[in-house]
């Protein structure tokens, strides 16, 4: 008989469902007054150091239809590559944001500061990126991905370098559409499917 392994197993995920906003962005669901404001309303406060950027996009399903009920969350470092809580991090950068696809157009917008490069555990430099997590009806376990920027040096990023099919790398790179403006569409399935992470 082997010894029993006493480690636990992670609680299984379930979809956030169509009404995920009630719990996470109550004002989106039409519920005002329970909390003073929605959690994660903005990842930055006025005075955050660095370049302010706006990233716009859609979450698109396998038929080409943009989700109207997606919930997105982002997490990032400040302009110097420090995560909130790390020594020397910009106190005006909370780093966390929650936003929803618009219920009519399916378009989302994230206004934030462009993050600086961050080191991996082994000390390699990761190109500037924003981590993104997506929950929605039909998504049984939340999807992690990353937003990189086309006007940064992404050449030696450890995560991008691991993508064997180089034609999939652009699915993680936001396209510049104007000064401080980027486009980042997330394709859940099919042609141009975004790379999702198990990390």
């Amino acid at each position: 008989m082997t010894q029993p392994l006493d480690t636990l197993i992670e609680t299984p995920s379930q979809t956030g469902g169509p009404y995920v906003h009630i719990g996470c962005i109550p004002t989106f669901a039409g519920i005002d007054g329970v909390y003073p404001e929605d959690l994660g309303f903005s990842p930055i406060e006025d005075g955050a150091k660095g370049e302010i950027v706006t990233i716009t996009g859609q979450v698109i399903d396998g038929t080409g239809w943009a989700l109207r009920d997606a919930l997105l969350e982002s997490w990032q470092a400040d302009a110097a590559g420090k995560y909130p809580g790390q020594d020397g991090a910009d106190p005006k950068v909370g780093g966390f944001c929650r936003f929803a696809a618009d219920k009519d157009s399916g378009e989302f917008t994230l206004r934030t500061v462009k993050p600086g490069p961050t080191p991996t555990r082994g000390g390699a430099a990761q190109a500037p990126h924003i981590s993104v997590w997506i929950a929605a009806r039909g998504i049984n376990i939340g999807l992690h991905t990353r937003i990189y920027f086309e006007d940064e040096d992404n050449e030696n990023d450890p995560l991008l370098s691991r993508i064997e099919q180089r034609n999939r790398v652009p699915t993680l790179i936001a396209k510049k559409t104007g000064p401080g403006a980027y486009r980042f569409d997330i394709r859940l399935q099919g042609e141009g499917e975004t790379v999702f992470l198990d990390i």
């Binding site: 609680t11 719990g23 998504i139 939340g142």
Partner: protein
């Protein structure tokens, strides 16, 4: 900051399958290609922290937090939902944010897109939040939600359930799940519950009645423990003195 080690990789076979034709919306919303796997980085090993100071006094009391008036409680079966948040090594996860949302006693959500004809309860909003204590414990006072029909197969009904969102201490631990109730016959008929293929894993989402925490003449109680990903200590690699 102390290096707590990389996140333990997810055991994906213990989670629901992303693509399940019986849950129709998963068909166009599930990635076709494999996930890109690699060891976690600080991007996943750090995450937002929320302080107890952000909480209002009624944030974990869904019976009162919408009306704000003790004279106008929500209608339904009064229950205490409580439990602990732990990691895979059984260590408590203190000071972590838990958010819940649910339908009212009739199975109707207070959401602009819910058109089910069961009425709204004027005194029930359906959202709550709390932060675990130093032992990882949490509790909510709420009403038991009703089952409701949904447009999947021709006659599908969701079991009674409460949605739960947990942060943990790092972005890579992020988890949304659902709590079901002991004895509900709809659990075995639900295509969303059935996206979890290991029965023992689905059973972990079914909260038992907990009479030890029920308050006589006031409310029943259900216990729901949550396990998040752990952090794997890296032996010998960068800590020669050991663990």
């Amino acid at each position: 900051m102390t290096d707590l080690g990389p996140l333990v990789p997810r055991q994906r076979d213990m989670h629901p399958v992303p693509y399940d034709p019986d849950y129709k919306t998963s068909v166009p919303r599930s990635p076709k290609w494999p996930l890109l796997s690699m060891e976690s980085t600080p991007s996943e090993e750090t995450g937002p922290r929320f302080g107890h100071s952000m909480l209002g006094p009624l944030d974990n009391n869904l019976i009162l937090n919408f009306s704000g008036d003790p004279g106008k409680p929500a209608v339904g079966e009064r229950i205490l939902m409580h439990g602990r948040v732990m990691d895979e090594y059984g260590r408590p996860v203190p000071n972590t944010l838990i958010e819940i949302w649910q339908a009212n006693a009739g199975g109707r959500y207070r959401h602009i897109k819910d058109t089910y004809f069961a009425p709204l309860d004027p005194n029930f909003g359906g959202c709550g939040r709390t932060i675990t204590d130093d032992q990882g414990r949490y509790q909510f006072l709420t009403i038991r939600p009703g089952a409701y029909p949904w447009p999947n197969r021709a006659n599908d009904w969701r079991p009674m359930h409460i949605h739960i969102s947990v942060f943990g201490h790092s972005f890579g631990q992020r988890l949304i799940t659902q709590m079901y109730f002991e004895g509900d016959p709809l659990i075995d008929r639900c295509p969303i519950a059935a996206t979890i293929k290991k029965r023992s894993q689905l059973d972990r989402l079914v909260a038992p009645l907990d009479m030890t925490m029920a308050r006589p003449l006031d409310f029943l109680a259900y216990k729901f423990d949550i396990v998040l990903r752990g952090r794997r200590q890296t032996m010998f690699e960068n800590k020669l003195e050991g663990m």
